[in-house]
Symmetry: C2
Subunit: 137 residues, 2 copies
């Protein structure tokens, strides 16, 4: 099974890189479709999957939301805003030895981990303050 070079695959890769981190398949599709109205969402999904297999990009799955795609960058953690659902990088050291803190593995073979913080992003807490101010005026 040889991989062919296609315009669509290039577009998906470029778009993931241009959008920097954390784009969802839908955001990627919406960005591409503006310039290339004939592309289909299925093609975007298929190419995202292919690019992951090729190690060009990384898929990141988040609880209660769509999957997001990164260009390959160093391991890091994420914070998800409970108001708007957007995902942000967390400026914190990656704990590559965290598995050693596990007391009893019960036979489970650990291969990796993710930490997902939750909270409220700057934009949403600003909006909240404006709303509160309005409500009390």
């Amino acid at each position: 099974m040889i991989r062919r070079k296609t315009i669509q695959c290039d577009l998906v890769l470029q778009t993931v890189n241009n959008l920097r981190c954390h784009a969802t398949a839908d955001e990627i599709y919406e960005t591409i479709v503006k310039e290339h109205p004939r592309i289909s969402k299925a093609t975007v999904y298929r190419n995202l999957q292919r690019l992951c297999e090729m190690g060009e990009i990384r898929k990141r799955e988040f609880p209660g939301g769509a999957d997001r795609y990164d260009h390959i960058c160093s391991d890091h953690y994420h914070a998800r805003c409970v108001k708007c659902g957007r995902v942000f990088d967390v400026d914190m050291e990656y704990m590559k030895d965290i598995e050693q803190s596990i007391r009893d593995d019960h036979g489970f073979i650990f291969t990796g981990h993710d930490i997902i913080f939750k909270g409220i992003c700057k934009d949403c807490s600003n909006k909240q303050q404006i709303y509160d101010a309005d409500a009390h005026s």
Copy 2:
């Protein structure tokens, strides 16, 4: 909005508790429907939501899988088997001060975190060994 006591709500709560941790809405529904064939999945979802709001149970969302429901127990982390998708508790101290390790919060207000380990569970690694042995014989 007063909450009424219904058989269905009791059944959902009992089933979450009986199944111990990590049951999905579907598992809960399938368990109840054996005894009460008239219950609908929508009712299970609605009662799970209600019980969460009441603080009787806790919803836990996992990347790339259905939501799962816990009876309230102490904070702890989870490991998800990449083969079978089952979720296990991790025997490790809860890092309640982890947010203090974040260097720059960029205006984000952190309210909690989750750590999700991934790997292969005991059952699946046993099966894998059996499969490997067969393949080489």
